[in-house]
Assembly symmetry: C2
Homo-oligomer: 344 residues x 2
Amino acid sequence: MQQERTEIQELGEFGLIKHLTKNFEIQQASTVLGIGDDAAVIDHFGKQTVVTTDLLVEGVHFDLMYTPLKHLGYKSVIANLSDVFAMNATPTQITVSVAFSNRFSVEALTEFYDGVYAACEKYGVDLIGGDTSTSQKGFLISVTALGEVAPNQFVKRSTAKEGDLVCVSGYLGAAFLGLTLLEREKKIYLENPAIQPDLEQQDYIVGKLLKPEARQDIIQYLEAQKIVPTAMQDVSDGLSSELLHICQQSEVGCVIHEDKIPVHDDARKAAFKFGLDPTVCALNGGEDYELLFTISQSDYEKIVLNEEISVIGYITNQPEKLQLVTRGGNTHAITAQGWNSFAK
Amino acid sequence: MQQERTEIQELGEFGLIKHLTKNFEIQQASTVLGIGDDAAVIDHFGKQTVVTTDLLVEGVHFDLMYTPLKHLGYKSVIANLSDVFAMNATPTQITVSVAFSNRFSVEALTEFYDGVYAACEKYGVDLIGGDTSTSQKGFLISVTALGEVAPNQFVKRSTAKEGDLVCVSGYLGAAFLGLTLLEREKKIYLENPAIQPDLEQQDYIVGKLLKPEARQDIIQYLEAQKIVPTAMQDVSDGLSSELLHICQQSEVGCVIHEDKIPVHDDARKAAFKFGLDPTVCALNGGEDYELLFTISQSDYEKIVLNEEISVIGYITNQPEKLQLVTRGGNTHAITAQGWNSFAK
């Protein structure tokens, strides 16, 4: 009898996780929230602990041809801190594990850890452990972040309500445009190493890709304004993918206005130069590390004062119906085409 | 000017970690213990949280030719729980991240997670997160475990005192002999696939390699007997390597008696069959996942009743002087030749 064989790409990343974890049951009374959100929550009396982890693989998540190792170390930490902030929590500790082939020297790894250290210093978190190993091929990074939150003040993805306003921090799509630029320059370079890369006036989009920040300032602003978002997550796989998570898990729909989606002028110019639609870059481009959250309408007056926060639409009672109202006034369905490491 | 280049193997794993982390300073008041022990400790009021992490790489830490994926999943968890127990703590939650090339199917990953699940169930821990990704080559696993311990009841490596008794749980060296056996059978098979592997009466050593357990029972026994070890760590890289850690970090020495080192009869027989010295297997073989700990002499009467615990020697006031008294009465220096993934 032949053994059944299902290809991983048939399920996709989230389907696979769901499949693999479907039999796990919570056993510890201290586990307040397990798999299925940006991070897990553990109750330790005075505070609750938030835990999140990420695995980054060379050739899948990053290309060392144009990613300085220091930036890679910084970004590896930021990606996890962003998940902690997306729980409305404060990151406190991280562990960092790396595996690398023998093409890496101590100096190269030091560069990487310098970046890790810089992120730790900036965000006030402690590196408290990790592991190092050789790899058969390439560079691999696993980061776990812990954070703290006052009891039951963490914010999940599954609690957005009809009528809530959909908000996003900063600007979207720039990291994807930075990636597009660097991939283009890499191709040109490989075809003709004599040609110098043309990165003139592209600091913004390249910076958003190579040295992103996590939105601690937004969490602090929300706290100062006494706003607890009704749902929240970070934008790492593209706005459309993250909107779908919130709507699916909250069993709601949303209406998003294209003209409200924040795209930086430099990103818009770059998009036009590459013949790309800036809105599509914002919807489907990954690695923005901005925060996507929903708030009660009663909090609108407080949020509108912050120029770093855009209200882009509202939540409806139509489960999983995601709609985009274009500049021209037409309405389209939003389908998630976020970044997927299992895609061919 | 030429850039300096130091090869990683020049430093070794611990030297590298030391090098990479030397500039990190603790910033959070809640970080009670950071890098440098089996796990880190975080103070969350009622209890302290213990965190540990491991990275396992195919071709470096395991060979899928003779390691069933379910066993691999189980063992990946056990390796981390063992570190939590080695802190005198109780494991509560884990995260598991995996990266894999496209030669792995959903069924294969399910097998792996079945093993993860079995370990979680047996030890009462919750899987609370993780990440999945493709890899360029091979299978990679990153596990992080959290545990709880009553305030300041955790046990470090650095607190062994002169006169303390050196104890070890279970038997040592069997996992290394299991590995030796399977490597030998693999070689025979590759040379002639028609020959069936000869694993007769080798259940014990193969079992110790492929399905190890973490010594929860020892921690529970110590608690019941109101014994707090003066120092403790798990035996994952071989007894000599672990003794060296305790002696270096505690600034003490030790005298170990060869005839007291516990080696199982089946392991002893296998060693003789392979022409190996059982004591050398115990000293330098890895992956036993037993507990090595030191206790005050006043606790001797309590410990001697437990057949799963062997007293193998004592701590001296001679820093880093590790001595082995052989069966013949000679005294040799113990040098750590534990397993090192960076060795050529």
